[in-house]
């Protein structure tokens, strides 16, 4: 197996165009496991760690452009206030060592239904930037995932960045079930965003792909008392939980049962809505 180390994005894209079988590697927290277990034998590895621009982020116009190679630890430290939902999800990834290496770009590259950042990317309405020698395109996260560990990424493309709205007065929550209290693959997970009369809701590990729950989003947009500084009625939380639970399409596996996943997502829906609504009212009041 060849180890290709491009110094620039341009060089990397040229390599990927010539050798679409080359597997990009940044932190290596997924790819190396696959190689070590011999689940994958790529002809070449394309090391992205020398491409400085992939490991940077910038903010402008209410958006953060997060380089695909920024490790979780930096994201948590540097963008915890700007992208609170993504930071919450990032804190649940693996161990400190894994968070020092792993990246959102890698999470997207693997496109596992259990990937921790996906529900947040879907809920906040992130766009994924894909580049190739042919050019650059931006795909809404909703359109990115196409199946279990599959995405719209073309063989000659690299994931270069993710664009996310700065939270501002939005309330963002992420919640994940695991069978131990740290360092665990999601049994199921949920991302929730409340922003300016709109809601974003997405679930992970509960369907073949990470999934937005449009019905629940529309319900919240229509039914939340956006201009009213009151706690939410239980009936509203219950209905929201039902809509989230109804959107699941889970399986039984060694990590949990389908029934449990559906049940737990209903509970998480209720709780995260309560927290997000409290945060939202708080931040709106603070700005008023």
């Amino acid at each position: 197996m060849e180890f290709v180390r491009p110094d620039s994005l341009q060089e990397a894209l040229a390599t990927k165009a010539e050798r679409p079988g080359a597997v990009p590697i940044a932190g290596g927290t997924d790819v190396m496991v696959e190689l070590n277990y011999d689940h994958r034998r790529p002809e070449a590895l394309l090391d992205l760690t020398r491409i400085a621009e992939l490991a940077t982020w910038s903010a402008s116009g209410g958006y953060v452009r997060l380089g695909a190679g920024v490790p979780y630890t930096r994201l948590i430290d540097e963008l915890g206030d700007t992208l609170p939902g993504l930071a919450m999800a990032s804190r649940t990834v693996g161990s400190p060592q894994i968070r020092n290496r792993g990246t959102v770009g890698g999470n997207l590259g693997a496109a596992s239904p259990a990937g921790d950042t996906h529900p947040v990317l879907l809920a906040v309405g992130a766009e994924i930037e894909l580049a190739s020698a042919r050019g650059v395109r931006r795909i809404p996260a909703t359109d990115f995932y196409t199946g279990v560990k599959r995405s719209v990424l073309e063989p000659d493309e690299l994931i270069t960045a993710v664009l996310l709205p700065v939270a501002g007065t939005a309330a963002e929550q992420f919640s994940k079930i695991g069978t131990r209290n740290a360092m665990v693959i999601a049994v199921c997970s949920l991302g929730l965003v409340l922003r300016d009369g709109r809601a974003g809701v997405a679930i992970g590990s509960a369907a073949p792909t990470p999934r937005r729950v449009s019905g629940a989003e529309e319900f919240l947009a229509a039914e939340l008392p956006w201009d009213d500084d009151a706690p939410l009625p239980d009936s509203l939380k219950r209905r929201f939980a039902e809509l989230v639970a109804a959107a699941t399409e889970p399986i039984d596996d060694v990590r949990g049962t389908a029934d449990y996943r559906t049940h737990a997502l209903g509970v998480l829906a209720r709780r995260t809505l309560t927290w997000a609504w409290d945060d939202y009212r708080g931040s709106v009041r603070a700005c008023a």
Partner: protein, 765 residues
């Protein structure tokens, strides 16, 4: 340390028994510089790899190695035809093929081995071996296997051992009767250092094997038989061991690497990866247990009846001894006048099971402690009161008829637990609590919603050292001489240091007995007699006992020599702080001067007092040499809507007879308790039709620092007059009571019956 008192110099030996000096290997381990068995390297070394059966049960109809042999860089591809000696090994029964011949009996059974000049090449060659199988139905249910409803996995039938214990009335009646069926899942030792070793051929038909193991001499016996060579031709040296917990009692790569080394004439290294490791060692026996407890209305036990099924999987390993423990310890640390226990260990086509910390006592404890809580509820007593009313003590007669002849402070353990302060209540103040203190941790599943607290208790009992008439001994050589102007001692044994700290303890013992600071523990190997296994919580007792005995012989010889030199009688001399002294006149001489060119070298084979076999009909007999006891109180917060659990505190009281190294004792209690927490909440090898579904640390979960709470630990030192320094084995008891205490606490929080461990989230909602 030397101090001057009243004009006379008194010397004191430091870092002896009862203190906590630094481990000799501690710094290197913490810095990542310690050489584990997987770090071994040799010039011209080849790499071994193993082809394993993809089926839990199949007839092997053909093995074609031609394509594998043709790979450049491949030096050998060996099958059962290439095993020169006996193609069978095993701890209790030689029933396991070195390489499968006619039948494979579990998923992962070795079929062929390859040696190549690169590990990648070896793996590629393994994939090119063409094995044809005639797939058979796997036997996967232990109870069916015992009943004989299914095919025999081995020619002699599926019962490896049935142990029956009969004491007192066999048809008792009682006012209060509680029953239950309990299950324990298959736990794994989950040691971090994978199976690995290096076999170096000696050029004349023999081999030197460097390997991480628990019992060098029993490895040696099995290797010798398989290779068909003489014992002197197979020499083992212990390599750095990255944890064991019972999982290294059985052979893994030992014979395979030796075979490949002898065949190729090159050194051969083998290292399993994590997935292969799950196939490469035995696990804890899963158990199904039927218990019936009868008691008076005030909660005093009248009888216990139990049927216990332990699934030994494809090969016997140490199933027989595990059955003996589960049966003899099956009622727990209680005084029960009438007992009827039947325990079966079976063959199935599940992964082989054998030794793991707690060894049969863990499974039984989940059954009997669950029953004690049921009995408490039925009698309207607190969990600690019902246990106190039935607590065994010194003098209690066990279900085997054996009288317990040293401290058995069960009631005291409970009293002390009760007296420990409880942690403050769960935080319901949303947004304030540190997420890490809540169920779910930073996964942010609750800010206090749904969290209910529960408290649970459990006590456990474990036999220490080998039982049932086994000739249990350890061999130690202690040598004292002056080296570089200092008195120095070297200690040689074959005892496996697997991380528990025996090397530190042995140094401490020598310092105490000889007053010499500089003590070197030589590498363990088969060049000296057996030390027995590092298991059954026995090495401090056995190898500690042997080293002490050898040190005492050295001391006797030295004092005789010194008596002549100093014109004293040996009886008035003693050794302390590198000096020879007498009670009357204080320090008389430096030890190094008295030693001069002399050398004192003693080897001792040391035994504990003998035990007896159990009567096969009644299970009566003085089967155990010593009993150890620990008790836990668990406090849990359960998110009752999500079924997630945070163990808030896990406090433990244990009697250790004498804490040779108090820090190491506490470490054992913490580690054992964590392993018990794992079994309570998450650790299980899940199988489906005999196939492991989670052979990785991604899905075989062990507790992290956010799962394991800080512990309050009280260590009692009630000396056992039969044991060296009065010590009582430490390693296993804390693993036993931790699990049922946590489950009891979860029951208290949720009201769920919880008849199976590990408890999973979906059991709680």
């Amino acid at each position: 340390m030397t101090s001057t008192t009243g004009g006379r110099t008194a010397a004191t030996t430091v870092n002896g028994v009862g203190t906590s000096p630094a481990r000799p290997d501690g710094t290197r381990k913490v810095r990542g510089e310690f050489a584990y068995s997987s770090d071994l390297w040799h010039e011209d070394m080849l790499w071994g790899a193993t082809l394993r059966s993809p089926y839990p049960h199949a007839r092997v109809t053909g093995v074609d190695i031609a394509a594998a042999v043709a790979v450049p860089g491949v030096y050998a591809v060996l099958t059962h035809d290439d095993v020169p000696g006996l193609n069978r090994y095993g701890l209790e029964h030689p029933d396991q093929p070195v390489l499968a011949d006619d039948v494979v009996r579990y998923r992962g059974e070795p079929v062929a081995v390859v040696a190549a000049d690169h590990p990648e090449t070896a793996q590629r060659a393994v994939k090119l071996i063409d094995v044809t199988y005639d797939v058979l139905d796997p036997v996967t249910d232990a109870e069916e296997a015992v009943r004989g409803d299914v095919a025999a996995v081995h020619p002699g039938g599926n019962v490896v051992r049935h142990a029956a214990i009969r004491r007192g009335e066999q048809a008792s009646q009682a006012d209060v009767v509680v029953t239950g069926r309990y299950e324990v899942g298959m736990q794994d030792q989950a040691f971090l250092g994978p199976e690995s070793g290096l076999a170096v051929p000696d050029g004349s038909g023999g081999v030197d094997l460097y390997v991480a193991t628990q019992w060098l001499h029993v490895d040696q016996q099995q290797i010798v038989a398989a290779l068909g060579v003489s014992p002197e031709q197979v020499r083992l040296t212990l390599a750095g061991v990255g944890g064991a917990f019972g999982g290294r009692e059985d052979l893994s790569m030992q014979i395979h690497a030796s075979l490949l080394a002898l065949y190729t004439g090159n050194p051969v290294k083998m290292v399993y990866n994590r997935e292969e490791s799950f196939y490469g060692h035995v696990h804890r026996h899963p158990a199904t247990m039927y218990y019936e407890h009868g008691a008076t209305r005030d909660g005093r036990l009248v009888y216990v009846t139990a049927r216990i099924y332990l699934d030994g999987g494809a090969y016997a390993s140490s199933t027989g001894a595990v059955v003996g423990n589960a049966a003899t310890l099956g009622v727990g640390p209680y005084d029960v006048p009438n007992v009827r226990i039947d325990c079966w260990g079976t063959y199935t086509n599940n992964p082989p099971c054998g030794a793991m910390r707690g060894f049969g006592a863990v499974q039984a404890a989940f059954g009997y402690e669950s029953q004690m809580d049921k009995l408490a509820a039925a009698c309207g007593l607190s969990p600690t009161e019902v246990r106190r009313r039935n607590a065994m003590c010194e003098g209690t007669v066990m279900p085997t008829g054996q009288t317990v002849d040293s401290a058995a402070p069960v009631a005291e353990l409970l009293d002390r637990l009760d007296a420990m302060p409880l942690p403050s209540g769960p935080s319901r103040d949303a947004g304030v609590a540190d997420l890490r203190s809540l169920p779910g941790g930073v996964s942010n599943t609750t800010h206090g919603e749904g969290v209910v607290r529960g408290v649970g208790y459990a006590v456990g009992i474990k036999n220490i050292c080998f039982s049932e008439g086994f000739d249990d001994y350890s061999t130690a050589r202690v040598r004292l001489a002056a080296v570089g102007g200092e008195p120095a001692v070297t200690v040689q044994t074959a005892a496996a240091e697997v991380g528990q700290g025996l090397v530190t303890i042995l140094q401490q013992i020598v310092r105490t007995e000889l007053g010499v600071d500089q003590v070197t523990i030589l590498p363990a190997g088969t060049s000296i007699g057996s030390a027995g296994s590092t298991s059954a919580s026995r090495q401090s007792y056995m190898t500690g006992g042997a080293v002490r005995a050898a040190a005492l012989k050295v001391r006797g010889a030295l004092l005789s020599h010194a008596a002549t030199t100093l014109s004293r009688t040996a009886a008035e001399l003693h050794l302390d702080g590198g000096k020879l002294a007498s009670a009357a006149d204080g320090v008389l001489a430096d030890l190094v001067d008295v030693l001069g060119e002399a050398e004192f070298d003693e080897t001792v084979e040391w035994r504990h007092r003998p035990t007896e076999a159990l009567d096969p009909e009644t299970g009566q007999g003085n089967a155990h040499v010593q009993y150890g006891f620990a008790a836990h109180r668990a406090v849990v917060d359960v998110d009752v809507e999500l079924g997630l659990v945070k163990v808030v505190s896990l406090d433990c009281v244990q009697d250790v007879g004498k804490a040779l190294n108090p820090q190491a004792v506490v470490g054992q209690i913490q580690g054992g308790s964590a392993q018990g927490l794992g079994l309570a909440l998450m650790e299980e090898i899940r199988t489906d039709g005999g196939v492991i579904r989670n052979p990785s640390f991604t899905d075989y979960l062990i507790p992290t620092v956010l799962d394991m709470p800080p512990m309050n630990i009280e260590v009692l030192e009630l000396a056992d007059p039969h044991a060296p320094y009065g010590l009582r084995g430490v390693g296993e008891p804390p693993t036993i009571s931790s699990t049922p205490a946590i489950v009891a606490a979860i029951r208290a929080a949720t009201g769920k019956e919880l008849l199976r461990v590990p408890v999973r989230p979906d059991h709680l909602i």
